[in-house]
């Protein structure tokens, strides 16, 4: 972030608008815009993206002309563990199955808390919840969630 920015939150929002609006224009460059009477698929995306770029400019101007509080610390550890767990769940659910994936997600997620410690009660809770999910979703509701995935077949 440049040093002349006095309002960091506006700066980051401006950057967000710039990226989203820019991506909207760039990836939508081949969509036919058409006319008002006969709108093409690119009509709305084009004008919304342009508006976003205008919002980016306004936000950048505000970020140097006004002062505001700092963004504050970002919980990178929680982000990494929680999203890492969810991504792993998505990748492994059909490959390894619920029996492996759910405990992995629960433990990775729980590691994000300072209060977590690996002891027998935690293990019991993880097993109990996994069993409950299997009973409810796979057997009870008959949803196609594999208990053991394709790796084990």
């Amino acid at each position: 972030m440049p040093s002349f920015v006095c309002n960091p939150k506006d700066f980051w929002m401006g950057l967000l608008y710039l990226v989203v609006g820019g991506a909207g224009l760039f990836y939508g460059r081949d969509y036919v815009i058409g006319s008002a009477a006969n709108m093409g698929p690119g009509f709305f995306p084009f004008y919304i993206s342009c508006l976003l770029l205008i919002f980016a400019v306004i936000s950048f101007v505000r970020s140097v002309t006004t002062t505001g509080e700092a963004v504050g610390p970002i919980a990178w550890k929680a982000i990494a563990l929680i999203t890492g767990g969810v991504l792993a769940f998505g990748f492994l659910i059909e490959r390894a199955g619920l029996a492996m994936t759910m405990p992995l997600l629960l433990v990775l997620g729980a590691l994000a808390s300072d209060r977590f410690s690996l002891e027998w009660r935690t293990a019991l809770g993880v097993i109990a919840f996994t069993l409950a999910c299997a009973a409810l979703f796979t057997y009870g509701l008959g949803l196609p969630i594999p208990i053991l995935g394709s790796w084990f077949r």
Binding site: I48, A78, G85
Partner: protein
């Protein structure tokens, strides 16, 4: 007489054993999440959506609706017992409710909240039954231009009621609209922003986005804050309201119900605004305003009646126009679409059993809630103090499994993870994700209506202003934006939210 016949049909639908059971499940879960820390109705409804796939449409909507208004009930319990609002709509209840509990009147405060909510729920049910058919009738005459303007109003109103910067709330709407265009364009068949990913051809799965923004994102944000609660209260003491109390709360409940029913229809945070407004009104009208903040029973009765009435009247625009007024209603629309029902004015005529069954079920649900809350209060008190570090892995597990089951796609799980991070970071830089969520749902609908409107007018964009309905709605939009932009009102709005 029509209304009686309709309510009769609704009663028959709501009273089938299956619907009664799911109504009970809904309000029970709703109360639980209202009581539990860090879990809101949006994430819960999104998580439980897959459980409703196998149910008949009316049963599924009855349960999901129960979760929403049940949460308003549960939220008041934590507000009174631990001075922490379970839901934002019960923030003002902490002011007098917690003071009453400290004065040894916790039981009376809880009973007042429950009775106020029940009376409000009953009246709001009648209000919906009276006005929804009328509104749907009006909506039948709406032209595409009118629908487009109405959706603009929905989005603008959600901005006005959003907490924080007007600029960034509008910006979030633009981002949401753009995200809403992802997928195959219904008119031209062109795949927009799909990057050759087959899962994106049908658009972004909004359940995954809702769970990401409001489930995963909340978890990451909550882990930063200390959410553990301790109850100083060992037992809930106090009795039911006396005859004297009844005299004091009778009019506040009715006034709260009135305010709630009107404000709840507004898009954005209807129920929240209603509870603030009802509290402020009672304080102004009271003969003993000095008691407010020190345990005035009116200060519990009025906002609780208002938020419950508001939660119910929020269904009016969703049911009659197919326009969501908040993220929960957006999910309800999603639930209807999954069941193959196109939301809009035709629901009432094509699916009368579903429409009236849902409305009457709200009254039945309120009856359940009063039965559930008064004797089971000890159980809820235990839930209030549930430590967050034990709770959130369970939420995480349910979110992951729930989003996967929507269409058995790992892609949706990745999408949820992505929007979880986005939701957390957006809150960090001061942007509200709710307007984005509404815009995402409305994006392609708005595009379609505007396209049709301009096709009919041969490209003349003044059609938005020459149609009286559309022009009127757009004038309201301009007034709303002007009101928020004016410094004096802006300050008042900030103070209301800061309280």
């Amino acid at each position: 007489m029509d209304m009686l016949a309709n309510l009769g049909l609704g009663l028959v639908t709501a009273m089938t054993p299956l619907n009664l059971v799911y109504c009970f499940v809904g309000v029970f879960l709703g109360t639980a999440i209202g009581v539990l820390p860090g879990l809101g109705p949006v994430a819960t409804i999104a998580m439980l959506l897959p459980l409703t796939f196998g149910l008949p449409p009316e049963t599924s909507l009855i349960m999901l609706a129960g979760i929403f208004y049940g949460a308003q009930y549960g939220g008041s319990t934590t507000a009174i017992l631990v001075n922490l609002p379970g839901e934002t709509s019960s923030v003002v209840t902490t002011l007098d409710g917690y003071q009453m509990a400290r004065n040894g009147q916790a039981g009376k405060a809880l009973a007042t909240a429950a009775i106020g909510s029940f009376i409000a729920g009953t009246i709001a049910t009648l209000v919906i039954a009276l006005f929804a058919p009328f509104l749907a009738q009006v909506a039948f005459n709406f032209q595409p231009a009118d629908f487009f303007s109405l959706m603009v109003l929905g989005l603008i109103a959600s901005v006005v009621l959003a907490n924080g910067s007007l600029l960034h709330a509008l910006g979030m709407i633009l981002i949401g609209l753009l995200l809403g265009f992802v997928g195959t364009d219904i008119n031209s068949g062109v795949a927009r922003y799909t990057f050759d990913v087959p899962e994106l051809y049908d658009g972004l799965e909004f359940v995954a986005i809702a769970m990401g923004l409001f489930g995963i994102g909340e978890i990451i944000a909550n882990l930063e804050e200390k959410l553990d609660r301790s109850i100083s209260l060992k037992s809930v003491s106090g009795s039911l309201p006396t005859r004297e109390d009844w005299k004091r709360i009778f009019w506040p409940i009715l006034r709260g119900t009135g305010l709630g029913s009107i404000l709840g229809v507004l898009p954005g945070g209807g129920a929240n605004l209603a509870s603030f407004a009802a509290y402020a009104a009672e304080k102004k009208m009271s003969h003993h305003p000095e008691e407010f903040g020190k345990g005035a029973i009116e200060g519990v009765a009025a906002p609780e009646a208002a938020n419950n009435a508001g939660a119910q009247s929020a269904f009016i625009p969703m049911l009659t126009l197919g326009i969501p007024s908040n993220p929960v209603m957006a999910l309800m629309i999603g639930a209807m679409l999954i069941q193959g029902i196109q939301p809009g004015p035709t629901v009432m005529t094509d699916q009368p059993a579903l429409f009236w069954g849902l409305i009457v079920s709200m009254w039945v649900g309120n009856l359940f809630l009063i039965i559930l809350n008064l004797p089971l209060i000890g159980f809820w008190v235990k839930l209030v103090s549930m430590p967050y570090h034990l709770l959130y892995p369970i939420i995480l597990g349910f979110c992951a499994i729930g989003v996967f089951t929507v269409s058995n796609a790992s892609f949706d799980v990745y999408l949820m993870a992505l929007f979880g991070v986005a939701g957390y970071l957006l809150r960090k830089i001061g942007a509200e994700p709710a307007p984005m969520m509404l815009a995402l749902i409305l994006g392609s609908m708005m595009e379609e209506y505007l396209r049709r409107a301009l096709l009919l007018s041969r490209g003349d964009s003044t059609v938005l202003l020459t149609s009286p309905i559309s022009a009127g709605i757009l004038v309201i939009c301009v007034v709303l934006v002007a009101l928020v932009a004016l410094p004096a009102i802006r300050r008042g709005r900030d103070e209301t939210f800061a309280e």
